[in-house]
């Protein structure tokens, strides 16, 4: 089976004054049809930038993005119209991601209109039902809805053209825990009903643990670790992943205080290293070897970590 999305050597740089920020610094990724891949990491790790490069809302600085074998890396917005039908983003905050002056009906119908599809009204009703919203909401505006309803509208808009991939950037971050479960259930159902592949970006490890079969861990633009979710979260091999996992709140607080693995705090004037492991500056287990580019260790088939300590135990 060929991957729907394939990313090789993706790099995205931003210029700030005289400095260059390597937001994404050499990432490889593959997404198969119907699969859910999670992307985790702290803020600033490059997850959202990666998402925007994959959905081609940004143009990568270098590297390639393939969709169904076609190179979409350098295409203009006009040439990407067919691609946009297939790969849709869902943003974190539906309040800002949906035009505040438009009604729900108009928002969901817009993709249909742009791509010249007929029967918009019927399709909009269909999709609203699909995401569990009453059709009366068609005439309301996003700000009149609850957070959960808004996100459902955003999802409806994303699936109305029957895409094959959804790239979800923190889709449950702006809603309550109580609403989160319903949204995740909805996403799961939509996935199996419409054979969707998900790229699920989140800093919430628990959500990713519940929804994704494979997970990649990003640290400062690079891949720290990747593999089956259970492996990555239960037996993380990269120190960075271990730190993330040990920070998950545990019920009852029985873990002794000193038991949590912590990163060293960054000094105020920090610079990212040009070579070597990007995490070395904060790593509590850093070794002299970490000044060189880390090896990619295949811990078990499919589970890889870019850490000198990965193979040792």
């Amino acid at each position: 089976m060929k991957p729907l999305i394939e990313v090789r050597g993706l790099r995205k740089d931003y210029r700030r004054g005289g400095d260059v920020l390597h937001a994404v610094d050499g990432v490889d990724l593959a997404l198969m049809p119907g699969e859910s891949v999670g992307v985790i990491g702290e803020s600033g790790s490059g997850k959202s930038t990666l998402a925007r490069c994959i959905t081609r809302l940004e143009r990568p600085t270098s590297g390639v993005v393939f969709f169904r074998g076609t190179d979409v890396t350098g295409l203009s917005d006009r040439d990407l119209r067919w691609f946009r039908r297939q790969v849709q983003p869902v943003f974190q905050d539906p309040l800002t991601a949906l035009n505040p002056r438009w009604t729900v009906g108009r928002l969901i119908a817009e993709p249909l209109k742009i791509h010249g599809e007929r029967g918009a009204e019927r399709r909009v009703g269909e999709v609203l039902r699909d995401v569990g919203l009453a059709s009366e909401l068609m005439t309301r505006r996003p700000r009149d809805l609850s957070g959960g309803e808004r996100q459902r509208v955003a999802i409806a808009r994303a699936i109305v053209l029957r895409p094959s991939v959804l790239v979800l950037d923190e889709p449950t971050a702006s809603v309550d825990m109580t609403v989160r479960r319903a949204l995740l259930a909805l996403l799961k159902r939509l996935q199996s009903e419409h054979d969707l592949a998900y790229l699920y970006i989140s800093h919430d490890l628990r959500t990713v643990g519940e929804t994704c079969s494979r997970t990649i861990v990003m640290c400062r633009g690079r891949l720290a670790e990747q593999g089956p979710t259970a492996a990555v979260l239960n037996s993380p091999r990269h120190v960075y992943t271990q730190i993330l996992v040990s920070a998950i709140p545990r019920v009852g607080g029985a873990t002794p205080r000193g038991g949590r693995l912590r990163a060293r705090p960054l000094p105020w004037q920090g610079t990212s290293p040009d070579s070597g492991c990007v995490f070395a500056g904060r790593c509590p287990r850093a070794l002299p070897e970490c000044a060189a580019d880390p090896p990619v260790v295949e811990v078990t088939p499919g589970h890889r970590a870019a850490c000198v300590l990965a193979g040792r135990r």
């Binding site: 803020s43 309550d176 109580t178 628990r206 545990r250 009852g252 873990t255 990163a263």
Partner: protein
């Protein structure tokens, strides 16, 4: 009776009760948890304790006592503040709570000055910033909020909160906008401060796992009322209210993150 005691609190907007008969107790040095979704009234309850209810809302009935002294009662002037070292509060979205055009050290000093502190404010400010875990606090004091990360901003706000040496700290969703590692660091910091100063804490969150990890007792709020309350162990192990049961269900670590206590 020491600590913060909320008795039968009713808050209304117009003629509608949005918070009904809420009872809460935060003992000195303890951490009490308040869990619930948005719209459950947990934030209003917290704001009422500081006399900070926004205009249309008011305390209709009940009372709030700090160390046995009444601080809030119905018909009392809504702006009555707890004098001296009393209750402090920190909120969600730390960067939004800071003044973007002032250096953070300056903002901490202002709080010190307002609380009647005399003497070397600079010195005390740097001490506080160090207490909340900022490296090189004298350097940190000279930075502007936009130069700090979310977690660091929250530390600054905690510094401002504890500047008055409060006996109770109310933390309303203090880590919701933050990364999981930063969240753990901030919660550790709060636990540490509690142990050091004997301050009691009311931790409010919609994330049950945060409350369950850090608090000795949990009250669950829904639609303005407390639907369940008890020790953390009791509430987690045998929830009685169906809403609590739902929240607790979310805690069961799914395959992939299975970490039980004691691991």
């Amino acid at each position: 009776m020491p600590g913060l005691r909320i008795e039968g609190l009713c808050i209304s907007i117009g003629d509608r009760d949005v918070v009904r008969a809420v009872d809460l107790h935060v003992a000195p040095g303890a951490c009490a948890g308040l869990a619930g979704g948005s719209g459950s009234g947990k934030s209003l309850t917290a704001l009422a304790s500081l006399g900070l209810l926004p205009r249309p809302a008011r305390v209709r009935a009940g009372r709030i006592l700090l160390d046995g002294g009444e601080t809030v009662a119905p018909d009392r002037d809504r702006t009555a503040r707890v004098r001296g070292s009393g209750i402090a509060m920190i909120f969600q979205s730390p960067r939004a709570a800071l003044n973007p055009v002032l250096r953070v050290g300056h903002q901490v000093e202002r709080v010190l000055r307002r609380k009647g502190r005399r003497g070397d404010l600079r010195q005390r400010c740097v001490e506080l910033l160090g207490t909340v875990g900022l490296l090189e606090p004298d350097q940190a004091a000279r930075l502007y909020p936009h130069e700090l990360s979310g977690g660091m901003c929250q530390r600054v706000l905690i510094a401002m909160g504890i500047a008055s040496e409060p006996r109770i700290l109310i933390a309303d969703e203090p880590t919701t906008a933050l990364d999981v590692t930063v969240q753990a660091d901030i919660l550790d910091l709060l636990d540490d401060l509690r142990a050091r100063t004997g301050m009691g804490m009311l931790l409010i969150s919609h994330d049950m796992s945060v409350v369950a990890e850090r608090c000795e007792s949990i009250s669950v709020m829904r639609q303005g009322a407390i639907v369940e309350a008890g020790t953390t162990r009791a509430v987690i192990d045998s929830p009685r209210h169906p809403f609590t049961a739902e929240l607790v269900r979310d805690l069961t670590h799914p395959p992939g993150t299975g970490h039980e206590a004691g691991g």
